[in-house]
């Protein structure tokens, strides 16, 4: 049996009303991300990167086209269904870590299981495993204000993996970190993507981390582009080959 592509966008168009005119945020975008594949989307501000992520996370519904997540066509799905699919199949790593101030590092993860109605005991075991995976085992009782930016981002990543998602959507994970910490975070994401067979899409400005990903796509003027490779998929090989340390 062939497992479905975890994330697929077919001819997606997303527009916003902007006064008297209409802004196009995604212009006939096609994207598919395979299991274990780490895809980066780069582009200038306002190019549509965040809109792409929001559509993939089912937080925005496109005007046309089809969005398939974990085999579910969610294009016209009601909000409750999209919320459930996001909860069960999608992990989101936010730009700011967005940790809840009242929860410890461990609880930031356990709450995900609580939202999904899972057993608290099993959730605690899973949460501790993930904190070990992101090298935060000794900080499980710390609250966000007691953690550094990099540590918060590690908890943010672990939280996204809590419900064993198939799709991992990552929004500018290094924007609040220095170069060294940013590289470590992206390296961690790359490892987790491969170890867990995730279909990961990372929106980033940070070109220095691109050699760590499998594929790079460019977003410009609401269009997603890349050179067509041998397997019929698009990528930007020049960016992929950019030496570490080059970029913003």
């Amino acid at each position: 049996m062939t497992l479905p592509i975890p994330l697929r966008l077919d001819d997606v168009v997303l527009t916003y009303p902007d006064g008297d005119r209409t802004l196009t945020a995604l212009d006939h975008v096609d994207l598919d991300v395979a299991r274990g594949e780490f895809t980066a989307v780069v582009g200038p501000s306002g190019s549509g990167k965040s809109s792409l992520l929001a559509v993939a996370a089912m937080l925005l519904t496109p005007g046309s086209g089809r969005v398939t997540v974990a085999g579910h066509d969610v294009s016209g799905a009601p909000q409750a269904v999209r919320t459930r699919i996001r909860r069960d199949h999608v992990g989101v790593v936010f730009q700011q870590s967005n940790l809840l101030a009242s929860l410890t590092a461990l609880e930031q993860l356990v709450v995900m299981a609580h939202i999904a109605g899972a057993s608290p005991r099993a959730a605690a075991v899973r949460a501790r495993e993930l904190l070990v995976a992101v090298d935060m085992a000794d900080k499980e009782h710390k609250r966000p204000h007691q953690l550094s930016g990099g540590e918060r981002q590690r908890v943010n990543i672990a939280r996204a993996l809590m419900n064993r998602p198939e799709v991992l959507l990552v929004d500018e994970p290094t924007s609040a970190l220095d170069h060294e910490r940013g590289t470590r975070i992206v390296s961690l994401l790359a490892d987790l993507t491969r170890e867990n067979g995730l279909a990961t899409v990372m929106v980033t400005h940070d070109l220095a981390t691109l050699p760590l990903v499998d594929r790079v796509l460019t977003m410009a003027d609401a269009k997603l582009s890349g050179e067509l490779s041998e397997d019929g998929r698009r990528t930007n090989t020049d960016l992929l080959a950019a030496p570490m340390g080059v970029g913003e």
């Binding site: 965040s50 996001r86 909860r87 809840l100 009242s102 709450v111 939202i115 419900n163 929004d171 500018e172």
Partner: protein, 352 residues
């Protein structure tokens, strides 16, 4: 309740402040409820404890029944005795007057009733205590004679703790009442015991009277209506204030939590989950605040019960607590509905 309980623990100062407000309002409402019931008891118990199910008043025009204005004639009384379905129709005369024993005297409600012998008086325990404190229903005791409205009566017993219009009660015979009160009426009202389904409105129309249920008769005591109405209004305002205060607190709290709510929604929490979580948080604060406030109110009422009229019962303690919780939860529910409008998209970096 996962996030709710941890928020409570994390922001304990803010929630303690809110809980203290709920506690104080509940304490006030509980004490006011006990006092209202106590004052009402002192106002109406002689009426509500009557062995009757209907009270007949005379009224003129569209006026409401009033104990102070009602005057029953002999004809009315005899006609009411003949109404089918009326088992007994007893005359009841009510006059406020001075009751004295030796040099000690006090104001009392003098009730003329049919089951006391001429020349004798039955004193309520409150009146007996005010006069001497040693009568205790002993007709051969130290004070066998009391003076009521200038006439001497022999104390035959003390019975019950009834009071009327905040005064203790002395029961004398209806004949003595007619002579002592100096009124041309045979009674103030008629106390009916009925069976079946008598045509009371037909009899009222024919005889020019107004019949009300015994438990509705206190409204005909002028001081009761105004006093009880004012106290109930205060109680109502306190309930409304508590709902508004709790609603205001949770409105601000929900606004402060909008970013967290957006994150939880973006992570897959349903709106229903978040609403339940937030409402549970409010209910915990209300349960603790109102529970402790109600318990303190009951304790204070029990201590004050010897010096002020205070009724300690489920109706004056548990009911205000439950009403506080329900109204507070309603106020909180209105406040936290803002959760439904939080857009999870705001959790993504581009929009924050």
């Amino acid at each position: 309740m996962f996030v709710a309980l941890r928020d409570l623990r994390f922001a304990k100062g803010r929630f303690a402040l809110m809980g203290a407000v709920v506690l104080l309002i509940t304490l006030l409402v509980t004490m006011l409820s006990g006092l209202t019931a106590g004052l009402a008891r002192e106002n109406i118990s002689a009426i509500t404890e009557l062995p009757a199910d209907r009270i007949v008043f005379t009224t003129s025009g569209d006026s409401k029944p009033s104990f102070s204005d009602s005057r029953v004639t002999d004809t009315m009384w005899r006609e009411w005795q003949r109404v089918p379905g009326v088992s007994t129709a007893e005359r009841l005369g009510i006059t406020m007057g001075r009751v004295a024993s030796g040099e000690r005297g006090t104001s009392a409600a003098v009730f003329g009733v049919e089951n006391v012998r001429d020349g004798e008086v039955v004193l309520s325990s409150g009146l007996a205590e005010e006069l001497d404190g040693k009568l205790d229903g002993n007709p051969g005791g130290k004070h066998t004679t009391v003076r009521i409205l200038g006439r001497d009566f022999t104390v035959s017993a003390t019975a019950g703790s009834a009071s009327y219009s905040h005064a203790p009660v002395a029961w004398i015979s209806i004949g003595d009442w007619q002579r002592t009160a100096g009124q041309d009426a045979v009674a103030t009202v008629i106390a009916l015991r009925t069976s079946g389904n008598p045509d009371l409105s037909g009899a009222d129309a024919r005889l020019g009277t107004t019949t009300v249920a015994r438990d509705d008769a206190p409204a005909a005591i002028g001081s009761y209506s105004s006093e009880n109405g004012s106290l109930q209004l205060m109680r109502g305002f306190l309930f409304a204030i508590s709902a508004l205060v709790i609603g205001a607190f949770f409105t601000v709290w929900t606004i402060q939590r909008r970013a967290d709510v957006a994150v939880l929604k973006a992570l897959g929490a349903s709106t229903g989950y978040l609403l339940r979580d937030a409402l549970a948080q409010a209910v915990v604060v209300l349960l603790l605040g109102a529970g402790i406030g109600g318990a303190l109110g009951a304790g204070a009422g029990a201590l004050a019960g010897n010096t002020v009229p205070f009724v300690l019962s489920a109706a004056t303690t548990a009911v205000p607590v439950v009403v506080m919780i329900l109204l507070g939860a309603a106020g909180a529910a209105l406040a936290i509905r803002k959760i439904t409008s939080v857009d999870p998209l705001t959790a993504l970096g581009a929009s924050r």
